[in-house]
Symmetry: C2
Subunit: 343 residues, 2 copies
DNA sequence: CTGAAAGCGCTTACAG
DNA sequence: CTGAAAGCGCTTACAG
C-alpha cells in the first residue's frame, strides 16, 4: 500500500505506452473502446489514483475555484456555500474558501492567497468596507474569471449574481404602507454596499409613490447584527415620536430588536410593525413570526459555481454577461399584520 | 503579464543556479543571507509566484487539509469552519471543505475525493447514519492523519476533539431538577452519534442521582431541526400527562418547540421549562430567552486545525493523543427560571 | 555556501 | 488508433 500507482505501472502491466494509458483514463475520443476498458479495469485493480499535481502542472489549470465571503458563519453565507459545495462536488471541482471578516485588508490578503493558489476562477462577496478593485486586477490581467455575488463591486466588467434588492426593498416598504404605516424607520448596513444601497432605493421609491416624505433621521446605518438590534430598540424607546414600523435589512438584527422592544413593553406588530430580510430560519420561531424577504441563498451558490464551471469549460461564455438576477419574495407573517381592535 | 515567472528567470537574471534560488526562497539555513535578500528582492521585482503544483509534485505534499462536515449551514458547523479557516489561513494552509448532508453514502464519496485530492490531513465530523469506519481506512494505511471533531467515531486510534457531552447533559438536566422539575422529556438526535448518546448518559445520570426513574417514553429521537421542534410541541400537546421540562439537544429545535408551545397556550417556563444546547445566537432573541449549553464552536475549529498542522509539521505528535476535550458551560436564562407566584 | 542533475507524474504536439 | 519524447516548475541527495 505504501507505493503510489502511476500510469507507468498500468502501461507496463498492459504492455502499452503511458501516453495511451493517459488518454484512455481521460476518455480521449481517439482511443479504442476496448483499450479504454482494459486500462480502466487495470487501474481499478491496482488502486490507481490520478496525481492532480502532475496533471495540474502539465495542464496549467487546477479544477479549483476560490471563494471569498465576508463571513462563513452567517445564515446567508453558510447557505450560499452549501449550494456552492454541492455543485462543485458534483462537477469534480474543489472549493477553497476564505473569509474577509468584513475587512478590506484581510480581503486583499485572501485575494493574494487565491492568486498564488492559482484558482481557475474566483467568486467574491465583498467586505463592508471594500472601496477598491485593485486587489482583483491581477485576476483580470491573467484572464482568471471573476464573478461577484450578493455584495458586488460595480463598473469592472465582471458578471454578478444578485437579487433585485431595490425591488425587494420596495416590496417590503410598500407592504408596510399598505398596512397603514407611514413612519417607517429603515435599519440597514454599510451603504457603500449595493445590497444596502439598493434596498434603501426601494424603500425611498415606495415612500415617494405613496407621497410620504423621506427623512434622513429615519435611516440608520448599523452593523446589522444581534447587538445592533438591541441598540436600535434602546434608541427607539428614547424617541419622542416613535416610528410605527421598521424595515430592517437582516432578520437576525430584526429579531433581536423585536425581542428587546417586547421587553420594553412595546407591542409588535400593533405599536410597531417589523419587516426583516433574508428569511433566516429564526424568522419562523419567534413570536410574532417575522415578515421578511426570502433570499434564494442556496440557489445563488449553485448558480454561481455552475456559471463559473460552464465558463471555464467553454460551455457558456460570461464575457458579455453583466448580471444574473434571482427571484426574491416577500413573505408576510405576523410581525407586520396589524390586529384590528373590535369593540 | 502573460508569461509566468519561474525560478529560472530569477536565476538567469542573478547569474546563479535555480537550486540556490529555490533554497533562498524557502529560507534554507545553508544559504547566505545576502543571497536570500538578493533573490527575494528580484522575485518581488519580477512578480514571481511559486508554483504549488510543481512544488507539491516534487515534495509529495499539498499544504491542504480536508474537512468533511454533516452540513455547512448550521450555526455550530459554520462557526467551527470559521475558526478552522482563520487558523489555516494564518498558517498558509488551504482548506477543502465538503458536506455529507447527513448521509453516510455521500460521506464515503467525499472521503474518496479528499483521498484523491491528496489532502495532507483530514478533519471529520460524521453524518447521522455513519456506522462504518471503512471509508477512512485508506487514510490510515497511507499514514494521512485523521482527526474527528464533535461527532466522532470511536475505537479507531484517531484523536478526537470534543466537549464533555455527558457532563453537559448532566448539568442541563440537573439544573432543571434543581428548579423543581422531575418529568423531564429529553429530545435528541440519532443516538448512534456520541454527541447525543453522551448527552443522554448525562441526562440519565442526573435523574439517577436525584432518584427520578428514567422512562423510555420520555426519550424522543428526532431530526433535531426546526420542523422536529414543531412536531414535538404537537406531540406534547396530545399527551395526557405532560412533562414539566424539556432538555432539547439543539437550540434551533428548542426554539421552534417553544414557539409552537406558546401558540398552543402552554407557558414556558411556568408550565414547561426548557433547556437547549449550543448557545446559538437565536437563544438570546426569543422570549423567554433560552437556557442552554455554550458550545465552543470557533475554538473547536481553531484547535482542530492547529493540532493538525502541528502534527504535520512534527511540532506535536498526535499518535498518543486520544482526545482533546474543550470546556462547555451551562448558561441559565429565562426559559428555565420558574417564576414563583405570590398571593 | 553553491551547483549540476535527476526526477516527481502527468499531457500533448508531432509523427506514423 | 497508438507511441516516443519533451517539458510543466520545482526540490534535494550528492558533490565540492
Amino acid at each position: 500500500m505504501a507505493k503510489e500507482i502511476t500510469i507507468y505501472d498500468i502501461a507496463n502491466q498492459l504492455q502499452i505506452s503511458p501516453a495511451t494509458v493517459s488518454r484512455a483514463l481521460n476518455n480521449h475520443p481517439a482511443i479504442n473502446e476496448k483499450t479504454k476498458v482494459l486500462v480502466n479495469t487495470k487501474a481499478d485493480e491496482l488502486g490507481y489514483r490520478s496525481n492532480k499535481f502532475a496533471s495540474n502542472l502539465r495542464k496549467q489549470s487546477t479544477s479549483t475555484i476560490g471563494v471569498i465571503v465576508p463571513r462563513l458563519n452567517s445564515y446567508i453565507m453558510s447557505t450560499v456555500l452549501a449550494g456552492m459545495e454541492k455543485v462543485a462536488n458534483e462537477e469534480g471541482f474543489n472549493l477553497i474558501i476564505s473569509q474577509s471578516l468584513e475587512s478590506q485588508k484581510k480581503e486583499i490578503a485572501n485575494a493574494q492567497t487565491m492568486f498564488n493558489s492559482r484558482v481557475d476562477g474566483l467568486l467574491v462577496s465583498v467586505a463592508f468596507d471594500t472601496d477598491s478593485f485593485e486587489h482583483f486586477q491581477p485576476f483580470l490581467k491573467k484572464k482568471i474569471p471573476l464573478i461577484f455575488f450578493d455584495r458586488i463591486l460595480e463598473n469592472n466588467n465582471c458578471p454578478s449574481i444578485v437579487i433585485d434588492n431595490t425591488k425587494a426593498g420596495y416590496e417590503a416598504t410598500n407592504h408596510l404602507i399598505q398596512q397603514g404605516r407611514s413612519n417607517i424607520l429603515h435599519i440597514t448596513g454599510n451603504l457603500q454596499r449595493n445590497v444596502y444601497a439598493d434596498r434603501l432605493k426601494g424603500y425611498q421609491q415606495a415612500l415617494l409613490e405613496n407621497e410620504i416624505p423621506f427623512q434622513k433621521a429615519f435611516l440608520w446605518e448599523t452593523a446589522l447584527n444581534l447587538e445592533a438590534g438591541k441598540e436600535v430598540a434602546q434608541r427607539i424607546k428614547a424617541m419622542p415620536n416613535r416610528p410605527d414600523a421598521l424595515f430592517i435589512a437582516s432578520d437576525l438584527c430584526a429579531v433581536a430588536c423585536i425581542s428587546a422592544l417586547k421587553e420594553m413593553g412595546i407591542d409588535v406588530p400593533n405599536d410597531i410593525s417589523v419587516v426583516g430580510f433574508n428569511n433566516d430560519p429564526v424568522a419562523q420561531v419567534i413570536a410574532p413570526k417575522l415578515t421578511t424577504i426570502h433570499y434564494p441563498a442556496k440557489e445563488m451558490g449553485e448558480i454561481a459555481v455552475k456559471s463559473m464551471i460552464n465558463h471555464l469549460k467553454g460551455t457558456m461564455n460570461l464575457d458579455k454577461t453583466n448580471a444574473i438576477t434571482l427571484r426574491s419574495e416577500l413573505i408576510v407573517r405576523e410581525s407586520s399584520r396589524i390586529i384590528e381592535h373590535s369593540a
